[in-house]
């Protein structure tokens, strides 16, 4: 059996490869939405905070898996929460897309469109404006609970490794360490996607910006439908 250090390296590599192979397709729409809604500001700090939150959630889940040693027992209790988070993510993407197109009656709340009048405007201004960059951290914490096949697979491994660790505390640490490594491994792919979506030449072209908004709404609706089916 591999040592915990070696196993963590395997998890890091797995996160990296899965990030480019899977996360770009499944979680990419979320980071693209963030990039587009952030406008022309610096994307790295908000995205960095989002990923810190997401990886922290994975780490906590890893600790729980390590402690219990049972993937199915934990996920059975999480299913309802995950469905809710899935729906929330879809709604978030739809609302951000709508805000970009101006389809919401009071939806002019992102940067260029921001109008301080209106309840929804103020709420989302607080949620996603650059002035509230720290908000991306709790968003990452929450969206780290999104149902995701490779994350489940990694959690199975964390539970298994926890079972094979002799002490309870060691089991928790093993689970946390492995999921931390996995989460960190997924970051480069998603940062790359965020960077590409945040390119200035892209945003300065109205037609691409418009298609971006429409795609966001489509993807958000798809997320909601998938969440209802999940």
């Amino acid at each position: 059996m591999l040592s915990t250090d070696m196993l963590a390296l395997v998890y890091l590599a797995t996160g990296f490869t899965v990030g480019f192979g899977h996360c770009i397709g499944m979680c990419g729409p979320i980071v693209v939405s963030f990039s587009l809604s952030l406008g022309k500001g610096n994307i790295y700090l908000p995205h960095g905070l989002y990923h810190v939150g997401r990886v922290l959630t994975y780490t906590i889940l890893g600790g729980i898996m390590g402690a219990t040693g049972s993937f199915t027992a934990v996920t059975a209790h999480m299913a309802g929460i995950q469905k809710g988070v899935f729906i929330f993510a879809g709604l978030l993407i739809v609302v951000m897309g709508l805000a970009m197109t101006g389809w919401l009656p009071s939806g002019k709340f992102f940067r260029d469109y921001y109008d301080p009048v209106g309840f929804i405007s103020r709420g989302f201004k607080k949620l996603l404006n650059r002035a509230t960059t720290p908000t991306f951290f709790p968003l990452g914490l929450l969206l780290g609970l999104l149902p995701c096949g490779p994350v489940y697979t990694a959690l199975i491994g964390a539970a298994r490794a926890g079972m094979e660790t002799p002490t309870p505390f060691g089991s928790i640490l093993t689970g946390m360490g492995l999921m931390f490594a996995f989460g960190v491994g997924t970051i480069p792919a998603l940062i790359l996607v965020a960077r590409l979506a945040g390119m200035k030449w892209l945003k300065n072209r109205a037609i691409i910006y418009k298609f971006g908004a429409i795609l966001m709404i489509l993807v958000g609706v798809a997320f909601i439908i998938k969440a209802i089916r999940f």
Partner: protein
């Protein structure tokens, strides 16, 4: 700063129509077609019976219980080797993944429970994409690999 005025170009009354179109696009051509494509690969019905794949002179028999095979449940995988070849020097193992979608490494380790019979516990995870076709690659050291592609209930 370039100010993009899209508001007037998208009257709000078109939004329900847009939602309907997006729903149709999502529900019919893309995802269902993709899943149907993978369903054509299915070579095994593990919900009802054990599946057999022949490698050289040996039958590799895979059985998964409890039936029907559901995602996110503890499953017991049994591999039985039947034929002329000798027992492998080390137990077989099973790698679970989806055709066309990388779900990360998920290996079921197996232990001998009888002569040429091996058993291991594992979980097939649920993919939010809704695709339900999974692949179990059984590797028997010194003999080879057998791929079982099957449907899973979510």
């Amino acid at each position: 700063m370039i100010r993009i005025q899209l508001i007037n170009r998208f009257p709000i009354r078109t939004f329900p129509l847009f939602l309907l179109i997006s729903f149709i696009l999502y529900c019919s051509p893309v995802t269902i077609h993709a899943d149907n494509g993978y369903r054509k690969l299915i070579n095994c019905d593990l919900h009802d019976e054990a599946c057999v794949h022949r490698v050289d002179d040996t039958d590799i028999i895979l059985e998964v219980k409890p039936r029907p095979v559901r995602a996110m449940k503890d499953l017991v995988f049994t591999v039985t080797l039947s034929g002329n070849s000798e027992s492998p020097k080390s137990p077989p193992y099973i790698d679970l993944n989806m055709p066309g979608m990388d779900m990360g490494p998920n290996r079921v380790k197996m232990n001998p429970v009888g002569e040429n019979v091996y058993e291991g516990k594992g979980v097939i995870v649920k993919c939010p994409s809704g695709h339900r076709v999974w692949r179990a690659t059984v590797t028997v050291p010194d003999l080879g690999k057998a791929e079982f592609i099957f449907d899973v209930i979510y």
